[in-house]
Symmetry: C2
Subunit: 278 residues, 2 copies
């Protein structure tokens, strides 16, 4: 049973309101039911959201927590005056002091992203996703010079999800290559990677965890056995050490943490964005 | 030339701080250079971040805008007292009033996500990504009953990126199926989908935009010609209408907007999460 309901109300997708609200709520030892209310961009939809919030208040007898990123001042005001939840107005709170510091008025415009699909950044992102899909799991050696990053590591060390995340969220073209028994026998990295040393980044993982993951796939196989996982991980790490490849352990990390670490280490400039918000 | 620098400072990845800060800054007609400073989780790293911010202040002669989600009160305080930027303390601002309403103290714990890789939600997400990759572009009819959503649409209407986003961010198993000339000749949906009508969601796109996108791939082909794009889109829309399949146009929408719309329409419960933050 949850102890409180939280709403994330936005005139857009509500993804930012939800991510931010969840990060705040994670600071409390409570079980929270979260409900995202996206595209609240008319008076009618605002009234509908208010009804839903007030209904929850009645049923639960506790104020719902309402995180909002509403941009439209009329809708902000409507929510503030009619809703019985505790309203955390994320935009209002910060936009006003910023107007003072920046010396310009905010334009309260919704839907800056409406035409994002035609922007250059957006088509780069699409291209990055396509590139990354074509270069998953060593499928293709073609155009490796076009890659921004090449991930290497044993099977099931986290290469595919990390590659897709970097492509989707950062527009990077990512190739990934499995390190396999043939490579360990030869005691060297796959020859296709020789010319791309600077782009390599390794993922490793604790053998115990790797064995668990592989056992979900192929129970009781030699592939999944702890003995084999220990062998593969030790060989892969030795190989990366010899080749001077940077690497990190994915064992206790989320995709977001792995990706941020790779970006910081390999291309710190990717944590910088020059965006024109006009 | 950018007119102001913004920093996003976090003891974690800084992804939330950046998304939120960018959403706020988008309300201003300014060109902003954004710099993410992740994993600021020690006094040393905080001092390093402060030096970088103050150096920017000196060079540019304007206060940098500093969005922070620091959880550690000692680091928050250090930043507030030593940094010459305008500090927007996203956590401090909202956590204190929430403590009052919720009647519990926040635990100021960093790294709640450290062991996320072992959680059930995380392994569902990994499984969803694997499922979605195996069921991209009609590759496999196996286990379609395991899909949460099946996207259909003409080639290059946005199915693959949307599928991957829904898998990665929402842990949904998504299959996608291209609608191709053979389907238009037969005037019916691919037979493999007959038993899964309720899960279908269609993506369509303006023929002019589709022709642009296809021309980047295969310039001057019949496939990319406006005439052919008009034919395919008209046939696909007619087919979806006859079959009673819900659909939306991706022409001016971001992946996030498309995904949120699909979730609202098909499975509103997916905008609800019951999370235990303990």
């Amino acid at each position: 049973m949850h102890s409180r309901t939280a709403f994330f109300v936005s005139d857009g997708t509500g993804i930012t309101a939800e991510a931010f609200g969840n990060a705040i709520l994670a600071q409390f030892d409570l079980s929270i039911r979260g409900i995202r209310l996206p595209f609240v961009d008319t008076i009618d939809k605002a009234h509908q959201a208010i009804r839903q919030i007030n209904h929850t208040h009645e049923v639960e007898g506790k104020k719902p927590i309402v995180f909002t990123t509403l941009v439209n001042p009329a809708l902000q005001e409507l929510l503030r005056s009619h809703c019985k939840g505790m309203v955390m107005d994320m935009f209002g709170t910060f936009v006003h002091p910023l107007e003072g510091e920046l010396g310009v008025k905010s334009h309260h415009r919704v839907g800056r992203f409406t035409d994002i699909s035609k922007s250059k950044a957006y088509s780069n992102r699409m291209e990055a996703i396509n590139y990354t899909l074509l270069h998953d799991d060593g499928q293709s050696n073609r155009d490796l010079s076009g890659a921004d990053v090449i991930l290497i590591g044993v099977s099931r060390s986290g290469k595919t999800p990390t590659s897709l995340y970097l492509a989707m969220q950062h527009g990077l073209k990512v190739a990934n290559y499995p390190l396999i028994p043939e490579d360990f026998d030869r005691k060297r990295l796959p020859p296709a990677l020789d010319d791309h040393r600077k782009k390599l980044f390794g993922l490793t993982i604790q053998p115990e965890r790797l064995s668990e993951i592989r056992n979900e796939r192929r129970p009781d196989s030699r592939y999944a056995s702890l003995e084999n996982c220990r062998y593969e991980v030790a060989e892969a790490e030795a190989m990366m050490r010899r080749a001077g490849v940077r690497w990190l352990s994915t064992t206790t990390k989320s995709i977001e943490e792995i990706s941020t670490t790779i970006l910081s280490d390999l291309r710190p400039q990717n944590l910088q964005n020059l965006s024109s918000f006009s």
